[in-house]
Amino acid sequence: MTATSPTTPSKIDSSCRLPLFTLFSGAAVWLVLSSVFGLAASMTFHKPDMFADCAMFSYGRAYPAWSHLLVYGFAIPSGLGVGLWLLARLGRVEVAKPLLIAVGAKLWHLGVMVGFVAIVNGQTSGYEWFELPRYAAMILFLSFMLMAIWVFVTYSRRTETALYPSQWFTLASLFWFPWIFSTATLLLQIFPVRGVVQSSVAWWFAGNLLNVWLTLSGLAATFYLLPKLTNRPLQSHYLALFVFWTVLIFGTWTGIPMHSPLPAWMSTLSSAAAVMMIVPMLALASIVFLTTIGAKTACGGGSLCFSKFGVLSFNLATLAAAIAACPAVARVTDFTWFTHGHTTLRLYGFFAMTMFAAIYHILPRVTGVEICPRRTKSHFWLALIGTLLLAVPMMIGGIKQGLKLADVSAPFLDSTKATMLGFRIGTLGEVLIAIGALIFLANVLLSILSHYRAIAKIAIADATAIQTAEVKL
């Protein structure tokens, strides 16, 4: 480390500005677009023939477009952005090559767009959570590597050598994604493996993406925000370490559903791993409990609210997944909307909420401009109610559907009818989520815009001052 004058938080924040603006604004745009497609997909259940003449919005394309945009468009860039800021702040170091990271982010968004256009035009790969065709996958991989390298260089130049838990989680997430993503791209699309090995790879990838990558990236933010906002130390280092290890060791084996055309050992192992995820879940619950108990901070619809709800959703989703992994329950819940319900809870409730918390915490520091608390508060309530209205009825509807499916005396259509109420409420949830996403987009864009307006004002003020001085002369 060079012996230059120690950097200050505000210097670090401004070095993050360019990459974060690119990552967050793109993420917000994709989130809005994704909720539009989510809404279109959900409408199909009320009026099946709604998009009968419009291939782009037909369910089989709207649904993958929704999940693609949500995961690759929103989740990964926002997670990366937050991770970058955390590594810079906690390592007390300015970002290395912010321009290159911003270029990587632009390239990433381009890849997401290419994938999106391909999906709605029927070039879907056919693997859930990995819908993008291979040319888009290659763009994403390259741009991720471009960003990850400079994020890592930033980390390695840190001046603060003691490591904080958020750094472990972020670093592991940087390592995780290229490995799982390249495996999936190579073995599913470039040199496709034979038969059900494809399913195995695809499920392994999806499990690692949803249950490990999102968890690592989200918890990095949680472990930073909770102590920071409550102004208390994280309780404790060892518990966080325990969460880290157990998420890595158990989470990576989840993903293979109980019912699959794979040999018994694979689904058995995977369901055992899903049950083991109860361990990090309980450890996380105790961390949050011990850290925030007695804290006098009111959350008031700000970052702390988002973050707490994120943890709650993580615990609920993990618990639901663990219960659904038990063979007797899986017999009912597999192949139903229950799985979709708790996955949505994980995506919208845990990850998106945690990212909102982090972004609302980071943006004012990077732009120097506060975000109107009324707008974050309305976003919080819309997102919270929307997520609950979407996920909970889906899970209940899924159980009802599963019971009808298991009851062979009931005709198949009864199982579809059993979910209709869930869909009605769920669509309402999607609408609220979509409005929330719009507010989020407005918050991010206005925040960035007002930063440049402030700069322009200062510049004008300077120019005027010079002019006045010249006039005086």
């Binding site: 404790s236 689904s267 083991m276 361990v279 309980l282």
Partner: protein, 211 residues
């Protein structure tokens, strides 16, 4: 919207969070060990120990084996015979056994020659072939010669007998609807009695051997 950069004090000068070094609660570790033990037990019961041929609800190869249909028996011989028939006989008699008048091949379906009480004359016929007129289902066939297909099958005498037995079983099962297996030993005995013969049989000779 507030465009002014409002730098509040907590934004510019803020300490990063720290982690307390409180010890790990023991109950969590105990819970993890318990769950790991239960998982291992569960895997032992249902996991099939990494066998690629074991799919739920079966739990082991031995378990799958318990439900394998009995091999041996007529079904297996019929399956073998079907293959041998399509390799050696179907060229003339067709896969469906309807024969081929253009080449002078009589049909096998419902033929009285196929439905004879024992398989003796069929084994003789397959072994040495046939020439001369033959009446099948009331129609006289005289333009073709059947070669000594049985003798020209590859393999030792025992293997030949076994193959001929399978063919005879299949033909009688499929075209004559006689579900009786022709045993290789039976074929060997018949072939031993005609082993020095080189000429084709005629229909009369066959009828004499088994009326």
């Amino acid at each position: 919207m507030n465009a002014d950069p409002k730098k509040s004090s907590d934004v510019t000068n803020e300490a990063e969070p720290t982690a307390a070094m409180t010890a790990m609660p023991v109950w969590l570790v105990a819970l993890m060990v318990t769950l790991l033990f239960l998982s291992a037990w569960y895997f032992d019961l249902y996991g099939g120990w990494f066998e690629p041929k074991v799919f739920s609800p079966y739990v082991s190869v031995a378990d799958v084996q318990r439900f394998q249909p009995k091999t041996g028996g007529i079904a297996e011989t019929v399956a073998r015979g079907k293959k041998l028939f399509s390799d050696n006989c179907a060229v003339c008699h067709m896969e469906t056994g309807v024969g081929n008048p253009a080449n002078g091949c009589p049909p096998l379906v419902d033929s009285e020659w196929v439905k004879s009480p024992t398989a003796t004359r069929m084994v003789m016929l397959i072994s040495k072939g046939l020439s001369g007129p033959i009446t099948v289902n009331g129609k006289v066939w005289n333009s073709g010669v059947m070669l000594a297909v049985g003798d020209s099958l590859p393999g030792s005498e025992a293997e030949k007998a076994e193959k001929i037995a399978a063919i005879a079983t299949y033909v009688r099962f499929q075209f004559g609807k006689i579900a009786v297996e022709t045993k290789p030993a039976q074929v060997e005995a018949i072939r031993a009695s005609i082993k020095d013969r080189t000429a084709n049989f005629t229909a009369e000779e066959l009828l004499k051997a088994e009326p």
